[in-house]
């Protein structure tokens, strides 16, 4: 089968175009593909529609960098520190410009992606009845079905999902563990899937545990070997969350100038994810590494 490995630079350059709708951060707080977001800024991709339930400071950073036209999300800010300063500046003060916001809840965005994955135009829900989310997001409609009120949530079919995983083979089959968030449905709903993997492994490793796979390899467009792709967010079994980095971001981005200087330091002033990691500090990255082992109980798939 086809070898789909590419460098981060190649994959972002080739498979994400300005104007695309892109899911990043499908697992919510962990496994957020920050490395891809930084590369999008370096390659000056613009007018993106970001789709995700939460994605922590990835959204705020891309808004501040001027990469975002529209945000389709349930929550955007800084999960452990509070509000997102760039998000506020954009919507309240049009700095650098005002983005469009499509308000969702975690469930409505999860169902919208599931509808996209299922290949149907909408899915019904009992959530959000009576909320102003149904006023500010006009895509969702209240309907009557056999005397009951339901919200019909239209499908999202993103152009690309960038998904971080623990390990993938070169053909695009992957294992992801920990909380799943909307990862499976986002990948199934999207036209393209770019995998960022902590490790590239032989196909036999993935085939040894086919229940741990979330979608078939043929849905994968590119596989990028990108260790520590999620820093400062965590990857189960690989490294912990860098809490201080989020708190520093919150402090350093209070002003527009502060943000631009942060962006220059960590994103535009470096050439690659490897240089970003050096800037963060190799010791700091090493300190976050998971040192313990807590292995899943053995599972025998033998047929005979």
């Amino acid at each position: 089968m086809e070898d789909k490995t590419q460098s981060l630079e190649q994959a972002i350059n080739e498979h994400i175009q300005s104007g695309d709708s892109v899911v990043m951060g499908a697992c919510l707080e962990p496994m957020i593909p920050f490395a891809a977001a930084h590369e999008l800024v370096r390659q000056e991709k613009k007018d993106l529609e970001l789709i995700a339930p939460i994605s922590d400071i990835l959204i705020d950073m891309l808004i501040g960098a001027g990469s975002v036209r529209k945000l389709t999300a349930a929550w955007a800010g800084n999960v452990s520190a509070g509000l997102g300063h760039n998000y506020r500046r954009s919507v309240e003060q049009e700095i650098p410009f005002r983005i469009e916001v499509e308000d969702h809840s975690n469930f409505s965005i999860g169902l919208a992606l599931l509808a996209g994955a299922m290949g149907v135009p909408f899915l019904p829900s009992r959530s959000l009845l009576g909320t102003d989310i149904l006023n500010s997001n006009k895509t969702m409609k209240t309907e009557e079905y056999e005397g009951e009120k339901l919200v019909y949530i239209p499908a999202l079919r993103p152009d690309v999902t960038v998904l971080g995983v623990q390990r993938a083979d070169k053909q695009g089959n992957a294992h992801l563990w920990g909380n799943i968030g909307v990862a499976q449905d986002a990948a199934m709903a999207s036209k393209k899937v770019i995998l960022l993997a902590e490790e590239i492994v032989d196909g036999e490793v993935i085939e040894s545990d086919p229940n741990r796979v979330l979608f078939p390899g043929f849905k994968t467009t590119a596989v990028v070997h990108c260790p520590a792709f999620a820093h400062p967010s965590p990857v189960q079994g690989y490294y912990q969350r860098d809490h201080d980095f989020f708190h520093s971001y919150h402090k350093e981005t209070k002003t527009r100038e502060g943000f631009l200087s942060w962006l220059d330091k960590y994103v535009t002033g470096v050439k690659s994810h490897e240089q970003y990691l050096e800037k963060v500090g190799n010791d700091r990255i090493a300190a976050l590494k998971i040192k313990n082992e807590r292995f899943a109980a053995p599972v025998n798939y033998a047929a005979e």
């Binding site: 962990p30 349930a74 920990g178």
Partner: protein
């Protein structure tokens, strides 16, 4: 008499809202500690849902900054999709759920989206996350908030998470399947829905005056008949909080 912070008192008040064997949608910050206190004291068989897709029947012993932190996954009973937990909640399996908010009104509606008009807001807040779903679909909504006049309003600018709407049977009229406010735990006291589903004060934290509460509430707040002082934390409750948050990151004020 033990010394405690307001944050610790709120955690304990929140913990006492959780009954044994209940399924709890656990929110970030204080609710994570409240779930731990409940589990380790009066509700040993409660089950916790975390919106990233984690189910735990015992809380992590580590201080968590987000639900997706690695200690919240290790030893979980189930790691799954966000949708799966929402399905169970939509089906009526979640007894109570915690949320916070920037604004609440007298019918317990919560705003975490926009201050001002949503088309030209004065403040853009982070948004719902799972809060609107928890408010729509859990059996009892538990709200934790700072008690300030600008936050406790006659009417919120935007209903992110529905309480009782305009009061009375509004939830039923909207088609919501169940739910409503179980308790609003603030920095000053505890409120619950009373007549017409308007929030009334049911307890006041030790050292707080009724006048202080009235001054910090944006509507003419009523007190319930069985109005009391919020019972202070017990040593074993504080012990749980301090074992998880020894430096008072979430509870120190």
């Amino acid at each position: 008499m033990v010394d405690y912070t307001t944050g610790e008192l709120m955690v304990v008040a929140a913990a006492r809202e959780i009954q044994d064997k209940e399924v709890v949608f656990v929110g970030m910050r204080l609710p994570m500690l409240a779930f731990a206190v409940a589990k380790k004291t009066h509700a040993p068989e409660a089950v916790g849902f975390y919106e990233c897709g984690v189910v735990r029947d015992f809380p992590s012993n580590e201080l968590l900054y987000t639900m997706g932190d690695t200690p919240n996954v290790e030893g979980a009973q189930w790691c799954t999709s966000t949708n799966h937990l929402m399905y169970l909640m939509q089906s009526g399996h979640v007894d109570c759920g915690f949320i916070g908010g920037a604004e609440v009104d007298k019918f317990g509606n919560i705003n975490t989206s926009y201050i001002g008009n949503y088309e030209q807001p004065n403040v853009k807040l982070p948004g719902s996350g799972g809060a609107a779903d928890i408010a729509s679909l859990s059996k009892r909504l538990l709200v934790i908030m700072n008690h300030e006049k600008r936050r406790f309003k006659e009417k919120v600018d935007y209903i992110t998470s529905p309480g009782a709407g305009e009061g009375g049977e509004w939830r039923k009229d909207q088609g919501l399947p169940r739910g409503g406010i179980g308790a609003l735990i603030s920095t000053l006291g505890v409120m619950r829905p009373g007549k017409n589903n308007e929030l009334e004060l049911v307890s006041i934290h030790p050292g707080v005056t009724l006048e202080e509460i009235k001054d910090n509430t944006g509507w003419d707040v009523k007190t319930a008949i069985n109005f009391e002082e919020t019972p202070p934390p017990k040593p074993e409750e504080l012990e749980v909080i301090r074992s998880i948050d020894p430096n008072g990151f979430w509870t120190g004020q």
